[in-house]
């Protein structure tokens, strides 16, 4: 009985306390700046973002409250927020046709913004949907094959391979030196499909034209040289890689690579630098193209994930959100953000020193300057086909079907789902 009394008093006290604090914050809010909500899936950037937002509040009287979710559940969470009426004012976007098909009705048009002409046109093209510019690219993350420079030197590889034949020779040299050439984890749809499966679409003449055509009209991948060549590359990585590629998760794969247990990893890129730094590992990494055939010309490209952001068109503060986006890309605070996070700015007039970002960023820059990069195609693939492509590639790698059967399944799923 006594205990209950004490408990009751405590509860009442807690209630009073919350009531008081409630009124206090309500009084303060009359002087407060406009508050925007910001939702993203790069939790490793959260602290650096916060510094940009602190500067933004001081300069423009706009406060940004951020929230992040794991990239694996990000879009589902965003969907839940939309339906429950809690849509953030600014949200992260993985640019591509399929994602814009779903989200275009929620994105404000950013066409007239100042930064538009100062962002690489290849990315602007991907952010364009029905003549509207739906997202602002903030930072670019180059990827293809990440390789360990020290291990390459140890195996006596002086020149980077430029064809699949040379890549095979390099693998043999590595093996001769007792180094595992590849580490593979083909267990994640983002990795196997969205990132890696960009390759067969991009490795050809007039790749953009081809890609837009198959997105519009469908296609037949079974007899296509680039798709077959891509399977040659997959075979090569399996031949010179770990046996448990179909059960290893990507965290294990990444830690194996940054710990020097393998010389190369495909489908990974510039984000490996911050992962290695967070793990306190000093590793000398470079970026090279995925090599699927002996046609040097079409093989010599890198891929690029532009981390981009959209403004919610139902927001009460669309204009402020646009100001905030501009600030995130072009201000001095933004430069500091790019430098600290080693993120490659998507803004050509940024004063960030790229050479300070390490060799991978430099490698990426040289391809960017020659216009030999493609924005990752995966987010443009029909949403319903992505899981099918994933399963078909895995089935092939497990030896459960032939290359023709795998490509036939992918072709069927693609053509069935393009116009949904």
């Amino acid at each position: 009985m006594k205990l209950r009394k004490v408990f009751g008093t405590l509860l009442a006290a807690a209630l009073c306390f919350t009531a008081f604090t409630g009124t206090a914050s309500a009084e303060e809010s009359s002087e407060e700046p406009v508050t925007l909500t910001f939702f993203h899936y790069k939790s490793e950037w959260a602290d650096a973002f916060q510094e940009v937002f602190d500067a933004l509040e001081a300069d423009c009287n706009i406060r940004v409250v951020q929230e992040s979710a794991s990239s694996t559940v990000y879009f589902e969470t965003l969907q839940a927020k939309l339906i429950s009426g809690e849509m953030p004012d600014i949200f992260h976007m993985l640019v591509g046709k399929s994602n814009f098909d779903a989200w275009n009705t929620e994105c404000a048009d950013l066409s007239g913004e100042e930064w538009v002409s100062k962002v690489p046109s290849s990315i602007i093209e991907m952010c364009d949907y029905d003549g509207k510019l739906l997202a602002m690219p903030l930072a670019m993350e180059g990827y293809s094959i990440a390789y360990n420079k020290d291990l390459f030197a140890q195996a006596g590889i002086e020149e980077l391979p430029t064809t699949i034949t040379e890549l095979r020779e390099a693998c043999e040299k590595l093996e001769a030196a007792g180094i595992q050439p590849f580490v593979n984890a083909y267990t994640d749809v983002a990795h196997v499909v969205r990132r890696m499966f960009t390759t067969p679409f991009a490795h050809r003449e007039n790749a953009m034209e081809y890609f837009n055509d198959v997105l519009e009209n469908g296609g037949d991948f079974t007899q296509d040289a680039s798709f077959n060549a891509y399977y040659d590359f997959l075979d090569l990585t399996m031949e010179y890689g770990n046996e448990d590629a179909l059960t290893m998760d990507f965290n294990t794969e990444r830690s194996a690579f940054i710990n020097g247990e393998a010389a190369m990893v495909a489908g990974e890129g510039m984000w490996m630098k911050s992962i290695a730094e967070n793990a306190g590992i000093d590793i000398n990494m470079g970026l090279m193209p995925i090599l699927t055939s002996d046609n040097e010309e079409i093989e010599n490209v890198l891929f690029n994930i532009p981390q981009s952001f959209c403004v919610y068109n139902g927001s009460e503060h669309v204009e402020e959100a646009k100001i905030a986006l501009n600030y995130m890309l072009t201000s001095d605070a933004a430069d500091k953000f790019f430098t600290v996070m080693g993120a490659y700015p998507a803004y050509s007039e940024s004063s960030v020193d790229i050479s300070a970002m390490g060799d991978m960023a430099m490698d990426f820059q040289s391809y960017l300057d020659e216009d030999k990069t493609f924005v990752m195609f995966g987010p443009s693939f029909p949403a319903a086909a992505q899981e099918d492509i994933f399963a078909s590639v895995q089935k092939y790698l497990a030896g459960k079907c032939t290359r023709e059967e795998s490509l036939q399944e992918i072709t069927d799923s693609w053509n069935r789902n393009i116009n949904q």
Binding site: W103, D244, L246, T247, A383, E387
Partner: protein, 293 residues
């Protein structure tokens, strides 16, 4: 006089049941009706406009081979899991109702895995299968541990079964223990005086008397086997090549990853029908075997 008390009854019912019924309608009935409605649309789950497309989703659903793969996986999973978990659960309960030393400790040990959440358990066991098993295999040379765990269709299936049973066995055991304890010792003594051996006692006295517990356990384990999701996601993620994708996960992937909310809703309607029919049949069958005292 009667009508007055009846009136009072109505008021009582409204006051005590009303709020609960209202909540039930809002949280359960309404979403069910909405879900059924969406199953006739091509809604992607995001856009504010959609069209009614009749039964097209139901046709697409049955034409999709992945639907059948996941239904087959789920049904097989339900059968194997329900049989194994109940046989083992009953056996454990039977043993732990004997006068053994440390019986309480053993009961607690078997129950503890049930306290851990399925998601965490999935990740822990994934680590055990992928990292620990190969090392055990290397140290002992036992072939069982050297299998490509979770990497093939069969090992993914049995891996999930092993973890699920390990987790939920204790729960079934507790219900069976409660059932067994409730059986009066008189019947057993009477049976042994009549010269029945322990198997005969078990078969003809004990099992019929704990039939209510069996009905309950069968029902619960069937239902939970159908509803498996968290373990499936964290342990195999549906892999390899979507062969261990349970129907729940298939529904989720269709509705959210593939952004076909309409098709996903259609699949969930089929799922509800499947569960209702199968559990109803099963409860009716076992109920008939129950003895009235």
């Amino acid at each position: 006089m009667i009508s007055k008390s009846k009136k009072k009854n109505v008021w009582n019912a409204l006051i005590f049941l009303g709020p609960m019924i209202l909540l039930f309608v809002i949280i359960k009935i309404l979403p069910l009706i909405l879900g059924a409605m969406y199953s006739f649309t091509n809604w992607n789950g995001i856009s504010s406009d959609y069209d009614f497309i009749g039964i097209q989703n139901y046709i697409t659903m049955f034409q999709d081979s992945q639907t059948w793969t996941s239904i087959k996986f789920t049904l097989l999973y339900v059968i194997v899991r329900v049989v194994l978990i109940n046989v083992l659960g009953f056996f454990l309960a039977y043993c732990l109702c004997k006068k053994l030393k440390g019986v309480n400790f053993l009961r607690a040990s078997f129950y503890i895995p049930n306290v851990i959440g399925g998601l965490i358990l999935g990740f822990i066991w994934k680590f055990i299968f992928l990292q620990t098993f190969p090392q055990i295999a290397e140290a002992t040379g036992i072939k069982f541990f050297a299998l490509s765990w979770l990497g093939t269709e069969a090992t993914a299936f049995w891996g999930t079964i092993i973890v699920d049973i390990w987790q939920n066995l204790g729960y079934m055991m507790v219900i069976y223990i409660a059932g067994l304890m409730a059986v009066s010792r008189d019947y057993m003594e009477a049976a042994s005086i009549d010269g029945a051996n322990s198997f005969q006692t078990l078969r003809h006295i004990l099992i019929p008397l704990v039939m209510p517990a069996i009905t309950q356990c069968l029902f619960m384990s069937t239902l939970n086997a159908f509803k498996i999701y968290d373990l499936n996601v964290s342990l195999t993620g549906g892999g390899p090549y979507r062969t261990s994708e349970a129907f729940t996960m298939n529904i989720y992937n269709t509705a959210f990853t593939s952004r076909q909310m309409g098709l996903g809703a259609a699949k969930s309607i089929l799922f509800i029908l499947m569960i209702v029919v199968i559990t109803e049949v099963q409860v009716n069958l076992t109920r008939r075997k129950e003895v009235q005292m």
